[in-house]
Symmetry: C2
Subunit: 295 residues, 2 copies
């Protein structure tokens, strides 16, 4: 019987996953199915022969019962709602994963959303940008990007899934995303994920947004040499998504903002007091740290 990959939510992420699967993963007898509320995205994907079959929201149960591996590419809280609503609709022994940028939200009421008879592996493909929608999706989007897979003692195995099966599924998952282009996979728990992502991703979006807000005028790019442009590109932000991400990870994000503001103040003080030698030492330390991070 042929194996079917399913994608719920055919936006830039879901679309890119579909294209990466089509390009690098699926064999002749394998299929890609997609579910979306937007018929245009589905039509485009069908026309481009990226997906083999399209489902609208009314056909969700039929869609879910056909998918052996399901990517839920919805906003974080919509993913939680989707899981709750359909916990009994997944294909037996299938694998369900998400792409949410915040993971602790799954822990609040885990039993109510844990799929029944299907394996549940939380994941986070670390790719993104200022573009949105299926039309901007791209099969090479994930090349040389990071993927985070969650293993957390609070995420219990769904009923009907054995330890052995789960191990096999994790290994299948890792092979799959490697074929899709990801080149570094990190396994961690929900809290570590949210803490690290609160820094590398959310804090950066807060900082870029504050930078754009503090621009005196919009003609600023005549005076740009690349720094401002690179730093603020991510400020072309998807506002509902990032509002949700910021608020869902409130405590960890606020602690990163606090820490960042302290570091800004430290530099500010050195400039104010014209402590040239100390400022140079600090910048030198920054340079070394940042070069180390490249390795």
């Amino acid at each position: 019987m042929s194996f079917t990959y399913g994608i719920t939510g055919l936006g830039i992420m879901g679309g890119s996953i579909a294209k990466a699967l089509k390009k690098n993963v699926v064999k002749n007898d394998e299929k890609i199915f997609a579910l979306d509320k937007n018929p245009d995205s589905l039509k485009a994907a069908l026309d481009q022969k990226i997906i083999d079959r399209a489902f609208n929201p009314e056909e969700t149960k039929e869609f879910l019962s056909s998918c052996d591996f399901l990517f839920i590419c919805l906003y974080p809280h919509t993913t939680v709602e989707f899981l709750k609503e359909h916990k009994n609709d997944f294909k037996t022994s299938s694998i369900i994963t998400d792409i949410s940028g915040v993971k602790s939200i799954y822990l609040n009421d885990y039993d109510s959303l844990c799929p029944c008879g299907a394996d549940f592996i939380l994941g986070h493909p670390m790719a993104g940008g200022e573009k949105e929608g299926y039309t901007n999706s791209n099969g090479d989007y994930f090349k040389n990007h990071n993927y985070i897979i969650i293993e957390d003692k609070n995420i219990k195995l769904p009923r009907g899934i054995t330890e052995e099966e789960h191990k096999k599924n994790i290994s299948f998952f890792q092979d799959l995303i490697t074929k899709m282009g990801f080149n570094k996979i990190t396994i961690t728990d929900c809290s570590t994920h949210d803490n690290k992502i609160g820094f590398t991703s959310q804090l950066c979006h807060v900082v870029a947004s504050a930078m754009v807000e503090s621009a005196e005028d919009r003609e600023i790019t005549s005076f740009g040499g690349g720094s401002f442009e690179d730093l603020t590109r991510i400020a072309m932000i998807n506002s509902p998504l990032w509002t949700e991400l910021f608020l869902s990870n409130k405590e960890k994000l606020l602690s990163h903002i606090e820490n960042f503001k302290n570091q800004i103040t430290k530099i500010e003080e050195l400039i104010k007091e014209e402590k040239s030698a100390e400022l140079e030492d600090l910048l030198n330390d920054v340079r070394k740290k940042r070069i180390d991070m490249q390795k």
Copy 2:
């Protein structure tokens, strides 16, 4: 008689200027001369046939008396010192320009540094990055970059230079940098330059540095999706140069830091108080502003 371009300081900027001149500007009978204290950079540029003649610091007077158009590619205060020391050594009717990222420093004691008998046009090629030195220089470095030329009522015409001559020189300068690859030239005064650059360039370097300093560990890039990397690339900073730039533009930079911190605090408060609708409005405004800036 052949026209000679001169470059003092053959680092990444001076080297890239030499290469862009060689590639796109100089004709058969024109020459490029360079002065540097580092014999290796001079040797490399001679071997690569980028420059026609190399001068060491002891030969400065001979060098200066040969150059029809001189790029002074030194650190800001070193440029001021160089101008003071050699104000009487420049070739009559030649054009002298700098590349300093801060301009008000020239106004403190302008008469003592204003070249004698040569035209003086302050400029700022808006290109830079984390690399340094002649070995990293590149003739395509300036493609599609901005150049700022200073016209300021406090920068008086040097003795012996007429208004008419100066206008012709500005126009020559604009043609020259356009050929070198720059595609947008903005003319402004010292104070506006320092205010704008304090924002687009210096504040970005402060923010990127504070971001790196606030990282908990150096393994952060396993959790990176590009935002942190793009935002902090410029933190691989040339610490002596940027210390000098920050302190030379202290007041304007501090005011930008203050304003930026207020914007961060505004976002922080919205997250703290979970004001979801207001946060989404703000991020939406940020998105629109940033998209406008691309135009």
